[in-house]
């Protein structure tokens, strides 16, 4: 694989691919880190790829294809969103499957380290504001610069999709169903339509001592209500046991101040909490989808089987969030 990467990145192969290692991923999606050496230069890079697959790798969750993901990084980077730089889009002649190579930025993305390591203390103080600011930029990306195949989840279709997903997966959870019913009955009026990252949370943010370096993991991006991203970032499941409401590291006021600085708009807390409830429901559907992937044999990995047992986290969060709102 190192040889093919080298050939793809340096015609004539006058260099070397070093320290190639797999970082994570399921059966369909791989992320690799490596260093590209040319003369005395060393360039730290990331390869994201779907070996031997084509198009979307997860129809249930509407994940983007690799080429769309790369196009999205370029479009958002151009408007000031902190993202890695796309370095090379894989072609058939690279014989590496579908995917792309991007810059490997410095920083830490592991939530537990980010939340507890003293070296990130100053970054934690700034991070909620910076997240609000970055989200503001994401939500202001002109829609006509985005890949045409980006899914549109704006309007009632988002919750209809959840219902059909629950029905497909045997609809065994009364708590997910009551959460969905509440979300249907209480949709905020006047939702706008913007680019939504879809997975903007602690764990997908690259952070160094000075704060946010890059926003990662764009495969769930779509068009929809922008406040969804703000609620998602504050969902309990993505606070990793810490108390602070924004990703476990920050406060609502700072998040909203950063968002207002970028957009001139300050969403109401009711809306943030609505989308937190949606995030809990969404987490439940992710757990059900992963379980189904395991059971069907599509991705019979230990990780998929284990995530299927995290459904009860989504249930408790929904019940807590809706405690004062249900009859």
């Amino acid at each position: 694989m190192a040889d093919r990467l080298l050939a793809a990145l340096i015609p004539g192969c006058s260099g070397a691919v070093r320290a190639l290692r797999r970082l994570s991923g399921g059966a369909n999606m791989e992320t690799w880190a490596f260093d590209l050496e040319r003369g005395s230069d060393t360039e730290p890079l990331i390869l994201r790829r779907q070996p031997g697959s084509s198009g979307r790798n997860n129809t249930d969750l509407n994940e983007l294809g690799m080429a769309d993901e790369a196009a999205l990084l370029s479009a958002t980077g151009a408007t000031g969103v902190p993202v890695p730089t796309v370095r090379h889009l894989l072609t058939a002649s690279d014989e590496l499957g579908e995917g792309y190579v991007m810059s490997r930025e410095r920083g830490e993305a592991l939530p537990q380290r980010l939340l507890s390591d003293a070296r990130f203390a100053a970054a934690r103080d700034k991070l909620a504001w910076q997240c609000g600011h970055a989200l503001g930029h994401i939500h202001r990306v002109p829609l006509d610069t985005l890949p045409a195949s980006l899914p549109d989840h704006s309007g009632p279709i988002l919750l209809e999709h959840v219902q059909s997903l629950l029905d497909t997966h045997d609809n065994g959870s009364p708590v997910l169903q009551l959460g969905l019913d509440w979300l249907r009955d209480n949709r905020p009026a006047g939702q706008s339509k913007a680019l939504v990252h879809g997975d903007f949370r602690n764990g997908n943010l690259l952070v160094d001592e000075a704060g946010l370096v890059a926003v990662l993991d764009w495969e769930l991006a779509h068009l929809g209500d922008p406040v969804r991203d703000l609620g998602y970032l504050c969902a309990n499941v993505w606070r990793f046991g810490a108390d602070a409401p924004v990703g476990g590291f920050g406060q609502y006021d700072d998040l909203l101040a950063g968002y207002e600085a970028a957009t001139g708009q300050r969403p109401a807390m009711d809306e943030i909490l609505y989308w937190q409830a949606y995030a809990a429901l969404f987490w439940g559907t992710v757990c059900l989808t992963m379980l189904e992937k395991y059971r069907s044999g599509e991705d019979a990995s230990l990780e998929r089987a284990a995530v299927g047992r995290r459904l009860s986290e989504a249930e408790i969060d929904l019940l807590l969030l809706l405690e004062d709102k249900l009859p």
Partner: protein, 129 residues
């Protein structure tokens, strides 16, 4: 069952993986092994608490006068909520809350939502007894 109990086998396998194997691995493989050890922990807790979930469902089925046979009660309740043919009253909510607490105590007792729910809705153990 005679000989080694299931709980003992589980404890022995977990201890072996944690103390003998984990140190030999790094990166993605080490991460996966931690997931595996955690999964065995879920099975261990289910052996201890699973009967309480069954008892809770049986009691609620009787209260709602539902003869669910082999079909899981939560599935029937989900269908009726979807059809809006079952009222979401305090009794039903209380069952759903306590069931969610109990299942979470099996799946992931360290999850912060469980601690929050125990503070708000009372002690799980009172409910189990």
């Amino acid at each position: 069952m005679s000989g080694t109990e299931s709980e003992e086998l589980l404890a022995a396998v977990r201890a072996f993986l944690k103390s003998e194997v984990l140190g030999e691995l790094d990166g993605f493989k080490a991460y996966q092994l931690r997931v595996a050890v955690n999964a065995l922990g879920i099975v261990k807790r289910e052996l201890a608490l699973g009967d309480a979930v069954v008892a809770l469902d049986r009691e609620m089925a009787a209260t709602l006068q539902i003869d669910n046979g082999a079909e899981p009660l939560p599935r029937i309740i989900a269908q009726r909520l979807k059809a809006r043919s079952l009222a979401l009253d305090e009794r039903l909510l209380s069952y759903l809350r306590h069931r969610a607490q109990l299942v979470l105590a099996i799946d992931n007792p360290r999850y912060s939502g469980l601690q929050q729910s125990l503070q708000r809705w009372g002690d799980l153990m009172n409910m189990v007894d």
